[in-house]
């Protein structure tokens, strides 16, 4: 996924779309919105961004799962097999992004990158609802021209890269905005 923070307005539509699509129980969330402001008046900057599981290529949640419940799916995403999850919470302690929570039904849950929708050829709920086109579903192994154009010449970062988890989400920094 490529998240273009230049155009994110922090509306949280992605959060509510996800909650409805995935029946996320009240008091929990699979994705969330962060607003980061910094600098010194009058030179202040602000970045809005929608965050979720990073579907790491070297995911500590998979490494530390004692039962293989957390695993890599064939498409490279990180998924949870609910019928193997004991709810020991080792994956939650291991995640540097705090992307997971214990579902009240007794298993650990997180963003599945709407696997059920992607399999039907649809986009994820958050991507489909995003009113500004900030969220873009991208296959990094097979990047289309539109994505290449989107990323071209921009400052793009990944979160906590030094954690060594090889996160699969990329952010186009708000510092790319004119005048920033």
């Amino acid at each position: 996924m490529v998240i273009d923070t230049r155009v994110c307005v922090g509306c949280s539509a992605c959060v509510y779309a996800c909650k409805q699509e995935n029946n996320v129980p009240e008091g929990y969330c699979r994705d969330w919105v962060v607003q980061e402001s910094g600098g010194e008046y009058p030179k202040l900057t602000m970045e809005n961004r929608s965050e979720r599981c990073q579907h790491c290529e070297n995911a500590p949640c998979v490494t530390y799962c004692p039962t293989r419940a957390s695993h890599y799916a064939e498409d490279g995403t990180v998924q949870i097999n609910r019928s193997l999850c004991t709810g020991c919470k080792a994956c939650m302690a291991a995640c540097p992004y705090d992307a997971r929570y214990v579902h009240p039904e007794g298993y650990v849950d997180k963003c599945s990158l709407c696997k059920h929708r992607i399999e039907q050829g649809l986009e994820t709920a958050c991507v489909s609802i995003c009113p500004t086109g900030s969220l873009n579903l991208v296959d990094f192994n097979n990047m289309d021209e539109k994505t290449k154009e989107l990323l071209k010449g921009k400052i793009v970062y990944r979160q906590k890269e030094h954690a060594g988890t090889e996160p699969s989400l990329q952010w186009i920094s708000a510092s790319n905005k004119p005048g920033a």
Binding site: V34, Q35, C88, A93, A94, P96, D98, K160
Partner: protein, 331 residues
């Protein structure tokens, strides 16, 4: 002019500071880690006492028929019992306890939780065998055929059983710390000395428990073990704190969060629990009391020191588990 610059993060994420039920581990896990450490420590001390007596003739008098002294007999029974109780808390902590079988369908070498679930199972057979052998006179009194047979087969090998158990005990003690220290996402836990700290703390707590239970003539040996373990524990906790303080901004911050933290735990700040309850009343004061007692000074309430050590050991587990979670994740 960096000093006046600001950086403010506002998040719609629901987090444990707002919603307490999002904490990863609550009271079950520290209690389990304490009981696990105690069980490991008891196994180490009782096994070494057995080997020392049988191979070198050191230690309190045997009680006849090859049964060791009373404290070793009680300690050997308590070790698997306490681990069993600890595992019950571990079980209760699972969000889906009925799926506990899933731990035993696979061995995941990279998962400390998987290794731990297997170590816990491996602990019991020999620990229970030792508990049976040291109490064989009483057990034979019940005259239960299968138990008699097990004792007949193994009673000449008690030293070997004890020798293996000493290692298993060390393994369990270290494991209780390693379980946390593998999580590099939690800066406070991410210290390899945590395994040693929990091991020594388990041994000092176990020695304190045996000191409480031992008859008068056996007490001096456990007091000596306890004092030595406390001394090593003080050194180890010192290294743990220094390692944190001299680490990166992440580990430094996490250590400061523990040792100077103002987060409230049962009415007191982390800082007060750490220095006042764990270091002062859980280690330094009992060490002084036991030293004075060994030097011949009359202590009016000799049971106070071991109780303080046990309470300190329990508080250490609560502090580490909670402070590791209330500090922000790896940055």
């Amino acid at each position: 002019m960096l000093a006046t610059a600001v950086n403010e993060i506002v998040s719609t994420k629901i987090n444990p500071n707002v919603v307490p039920h999002l904490h990863i581990w609550e009271w079950h896990i520290p209690l389990y880690l304490f009981l696990g450490g105690l069980a490991g420590g008891l196994l180490v001390i009782t096994s070494i006492m057995i080997v020392l007596k049988r191979k070198f003739g050191i230690g309190p008098r045997d009680q006849g028929d090859g049964c060791p002294c009373l404290a070793v007999r009680i300690g050997s029974v308590l070790s698997p019992t306490l681990l069993g109780i600890g595992m019950l808390f571990l079980f209760l902590d699972l969000a889906h306890p009925l799926y506990v079988w899933a731990f035993y369908t696979t061995i995941q070498p990279t998962s400390p939780m998987s290794a731990g679930s297997w170590i816990l199972i491996a602990f019991f057979p020999l620990a229970i065998l030792q508990a049976m052998l040291v109490n064989k006179r009483q057990l034979r009194g019940f005259n239960i055929e299968p138990i008699n047979k097990v004792i007949d087969w193994t009673e000449n090998h008690m030293t070997i059983v004890a020798l293996v158990n000493a290692h298993i005990g060390v393994g369990i003690g270290i494991y209780t710390g390693i379980l946390l220290s593998f999580f590099s996402a939690r800066p406070l836990w991410s210290s390899s000395i945590l395994g040693m700290l929990f091991l020594v703390s388990g041994i000092s707590s176990a020695a304190a428990l045996m000191l409480l239970l031992a008859p008068e003539d056996e007490k001096p040996v456990y007091s000596m073990i306890d004092a030595n373990a406390i001394w090593i524990e003080l050194m180890t906790v010192g290294l743990f704190v220094l390692g944190g303080l001299t680490g990166s901004a992440n580990t430094h911050g996490a250590m400061m969060h523990l040792i100077t933290g103002d987060i409230n735990l049962a009415g007191m700040s982390y800082m007060f629990w750490f220095w006042g309850i764990f270091i002062a009343s859980g280690l330094v004061v009992p060490l002084l009391l036991e030293f004075l007692e060994a030097a011949g000074v009359h202590i009016r309430f000799p049971n106070v020191a071991p109780v303080m050590v046990l309470f300190g050991g329990l508080i250490l587990r609560f502090l580490i588990v909670f402070a590791g979670q209330t500090y922000h994740t790896f940055m």
